[in-house]
Symmetry: C2
Subunit: 197 residues, 2 copies
């Protein structure tokens, strides 16, 4: 069984989207800046991106990310031509979805969606997208690694990487890959930090 990995790009100040999100700009005004590293053409950045997607066999996300992203993803989902199955946590499946799409809707919560994704992924890993599902799975102790692409920009506001009110979560740095476009940091999730509330 592969690892469960929460992989996300953030601004230096911890935002995963900018303020002012709309249907046309789900990442907010100027929010696409966070993904510039993936298109920068730098060989090292491309390798980070390729290794990340290449290690996965399935992906889990929340309904909000699905709704926001479907117009951009089309039937192939977030992994494009790799067409990895995307398990969407939702209260109820949408009335319609692309007929040849990679989408599977799970109404029994994030842990159930993850279990189905793990089965579908076989020997490969499972990617977690979307801050809310990720937060719940991290809290449940079900995320093995957190990969953060820290982008050299300050947003000041927007959606936060880990918006939570519970105990701190202790991590261990496994690898740091710095490029001009982003500092890629891979962590192992250790668990709740002692001494935090």
């Amino acid at each position: 069984m592969g690892r469960v990995v929460y992989d996300m790009s953030t601004s230096l100040d911890g935002f995963v989207s900018a303020a002012g999100a709309t249907a046309e700009e789900p990442l907010g005004i100027g929010g696409e800046r966070l993904h510039a590293w993936a298109f920068a053409g730098d060989e090292v950045d491309r390798k980070v991106l390729g290794d990340g997607v290449g290690s996965l066999g399935a992906v889990v996300t929340g309904r909000r990310t699905y709704d926001q992203s479907l117009p951009f993803w089309g039937p192939n989902g977030p992994t494009g031509e790799a067409r990895l199955p995307l398990f969407v946590v939702t209260h109820s499946a949408p009335a319609s979805s692309p007929e040849d799409g990679v989408y599977r809707f799970v109404t029994d919560g994030p842990e159930r969606a993850l279990a189905e994704a793990v089965t579908a992924a076989g020997d490969k890993g499972v990617g977690v997208m979307g801050t809310d599902v990720a937060r719940q799975l991290v809290r449940a102790g079900l995320v093995d690694e957190i990969v953060v692409h820290v982008v050299p920009v300050l947003f000041g506001s927007g959606d936060r990487f880990f918006d939570d009110d519970g105990q701190h979560v202790e991590l261990e740095v496994l690898e740091v890959v710095p490029t001009a476009a982003a500092t890629h940091i891979r962590h192992r999730v250790i668990g709740p930090a002692h001494g935090s509330r």
Copy 2:
């Protein structure tokens, strides 16, 4: 004239303090975790800390940081035995302050405090402490570098590194020094990002 540097430790998710701050624990419950790298005894971390303080000739901060930290700093201020002058931005000087302290109170705003600190620092740099003063000086285009010590922990809540509602601020990565305790990233401040609001 030296550089003006905003130097700060943050959690991976962009918090510079934890929730639940009190007079005894100004960084919140478990917030001291952010400074563990400075005491970890790792040679590389110690060099980062030493080079940072060693490059400075004066420091600027806000009244809130001063009030919170004075019990811990005593007369020497944040730089300990180096005893660099600390310029505190305040509406009015406090009734009392340590007689042999390094503190100088400036009631004409952060830009005036910075100007006095620059004069005091001579050839050396000026450090900026405290998120509110830092934010105002970054907005005014008066901060040359931002040094962030990214600590492998998720806080989920607390005070934010750059709590702001204006245009994004574009940075350039100058240096990344990864250790087990923190990823130290030095940036040059480029300025307002195009395409953000």
